[in-house]
Amino acid sequence: MLSQSAKDGFDTLLMQSLKSSLTPSGEHSEVMVVSADEADAIADSQIVVLTVSSYLFRAMVMFYFTPNDDTRAHFARLNHLDAETMNEQTFMDAIAEGGNLCCGILNRDLGNFFPHIGMSTPNVIDKHCASYLQKLNCEHVQHFAIEMPQSPRFFVSLCVSAYADIDFEVDANTVASETGELELF
């Protein structure tokens, strides 16, 4: 069973990782919780799905997207690539890498509380697959939107299944660890 503090902790860590991973450098973004009704109305056609799990829980993160020019432009800016030269494969890889980066951050941050933790590789599925989520018996489902001035509004769903009593507390003011620096051995 997940405590309320643990549910809040999953939400806080995912919101922080969304902001870090999906915002192109130098741009501003806002991440917010959205209602289940709003999530039901998501018009995007596809989902990148990843899981972060330990023997105590499984957190499934779903990134909704529509493969159009606006999405292409966003992920090109995010990855310092030229949108014009991105073919379909590199476009889909860029979206998947966005999910991978986000869950990588979530995985690292959850690792502070759960030492034995791992994450999946990204998979792209049709949005209609989301209808089967209830089969997972998730104890905590939350939906988020990320807004940036020059990009489409992206939606993300978090579904957590617990296999034991889980309680941890996240300090929302904790500064994220440094990334991108070379740590020499």
Binding site: H80, A94, A96, E183, L184, F185
Partner: protein
């Protein structure tokens, strides 16, 4: 003839890292997983630095690093891991395999450029 081998299963990361390094004067070659990385390194004695992801299909980056030292007997090439992982256990395994350093993604080229130059020139 390449100076840096970039190993990542994501074409996005290969393009981002590869383009940055090329723009900064490095000769590079790309590999899609650890197995491909081993083959490319075996066939090009000029490679001075390997920049590799950890989690990849077919062969992960840490296994590749171990095989570079053991199977290829290459003890001089510098190996850097570029990964979303930051687990102390993985870093210890990397150190045991003789890797030179660790970068937590996302890749920020300017932050590592001077170190890469030293590792290639040294």
């Amino acid at each position: 003839m390449a100076q840096i081998l970039v190993v990542d299963d994501s074409s996005t990361v290969r393009a981002e890292v590869g383009d940055f390094l090329k723009k900064n004067g490095f000769d590079i070659t790309l590999a899609v997983d650890g197995r491909d990385g081993l083959t490319k390194l075996k066939g090009d004695a000029s490679i001075k630095l390997v920049v590799s992801d950890v989690n990849m299909p077919n062969m992960d980056g840490l296994t590749m690093a171990e095989k570079i030292r053991s199977e290829l007997g290459n003890t001089h090439v510098n190996i850097i891991m570029l990964t979303t992982e930051n687990s102390p256990l993985m870093k210890e395994r990397g150190k045991a395999a003789g890797i030179k350093g660790w970068i937590v993604k996302p890749f920020k080229g300017e932050a590592v450029l001077s170190s890469f130059k030293k590792l290639v020139d040294g």
